[in-house]
Amino acid sequence: MSNFVAILKKRNKRIIRMKKFMVPFICLFVIMANISSAEGASKQTEESEHATAHHDECSCHHEEKYDPGASAFHHIGDANAFHLFGDYYLPLPCLLYAPESGIKFIMSSAFHMHHHGSGSKAIDGYVMVHGSIMRVNQDGFPMEGEVEVSCYTEKEAADGKVTYQVVYDEKCYNLDKKTSYDGGIMGGGITSFYDFSMTKNVFTMILAFLILFFLFRKAAVSYITRKGQAPKGVQAVIEPLFEFIRNEVAIPFLGSKYEKYLPYLMSIFFFILGLNLVGQLPFFPGSGNVTGNLSVTLVLAVIAALITNFSGNKHYWQHVFNMPGVPLPIKFILTPVELLGLFIKPMTLMLRLFANITAGHIVIIIFVSLIFIFGQAGESLGGSILGGVMAVPLTLFMMAIELLVAFVQAFVFCILTASYIGAAIEEHHEHH
């Protein structure tokens, strides 16, 4: 007992010592966050080259305008290269396929990216615009080999849709949209090429997977090496989380059959939690907004829906198609509602995670943007300082909230999936 108290005291001391380091660390963290975002944003305002889109002639000129909304959407989006700092990008492999020119495999560094992720080279008709690969879809552009391009510009159509254009040899060429994996269902439109690259999000996912693998391996090993002793280190972090999900989520919702679904629930919880936390880091290994990407949450929700419906027993389907104890006319109303519910449940899972994480990231970026809004994009020093003084505590506050949201959203996804599966495998009970 006295031994235990001694350990506790030692641990308390260590926590106090850690607290001393925590305050400067957090301050440093916030300052670094601001600098790294500020760098990207100032690059955008100072060097952003927009061209005037005449019919034939195109020229690039500098435009001093800062758009916080566009900046935010650019930062939360996926990209074909990982922004490190300044003009330095981590090259990622690009696997591109166009029906007329076949498969193309290059590194994203081949595009010679400079300010704000736009490349100065076009390779086989592919160009890098704001960190995403696009393809020229207008005649006259050299579709073979490497050419030097001047800049990129946006053309707004009458209906408000923005098309990117590349300026080459003082002429504008329309660009296709960046590809989406949905075949154009969600408004992206069908493109003339397909992008199967390892993007920033894929990189972050692999990173999170490796971190989780090593953490869990370490915890698992320590169950053998420290058998019969109190948990320590990584094990002491993982075990309470694991027990919490098992005792508060799996057992109450799934009952006696919980062990069959426990691996899935744990994977989904720790995967989302890991990605949320990695995505909160504002600089290099983090900053990938993976759980705030609709495609990723779509896949997670589809997996949840498949597991729910495939493990559904007779009573589950009976409650969907032919509810017992309900008069026939009501069944005509209830069955379509229940059928819709089969699709709405995973859809809300998908949207909830996506919207929560995306909203958090956008709010943080907008708070950082206060520096540029008040500083009039670098023109007013006093305004920038005022903006900075406002932005630092607000960003710190939002980061703390986001830390909570990272845990709550992982937990909510897990508990809702468990409740859907629980409803599907529930044993029959009397209705009379």
Partner: protein
């Protein structure tokens, strides 16, 4: 103009969700005050219900932003 209307729609959705989640929170606090021994159950059910309401609000927000 569509932008402003979409913003109003998102705001209305948030009002509804705010009232709903506020009710959940107040009732949960009352329940915890009455029966502090089941605080764990009440808390997880509270989060579950809040998440369900939030889902409806988020669908409204997403629709009001992306469907113009």
């Amino acid at each position: 103009m569509t932008g402003t209307l979409a913003a109003i729609g998102a705001g209305l959705a948030v009002i509804g969700a705010g009232i709903g989640i506020g009710n959940i929170g107040s009732k949960a606090m009352e329940a915890i005050a009455r029966q502090p021994e089941v605080v764990g159950d009440i808390r997880s059910n509270m989060i579950l219900m809040a998440a369900l309401i939030e889902g409806a609000a988020l669908i409204a927000i997403i629709l009001s932003i992306f469907v113009k």
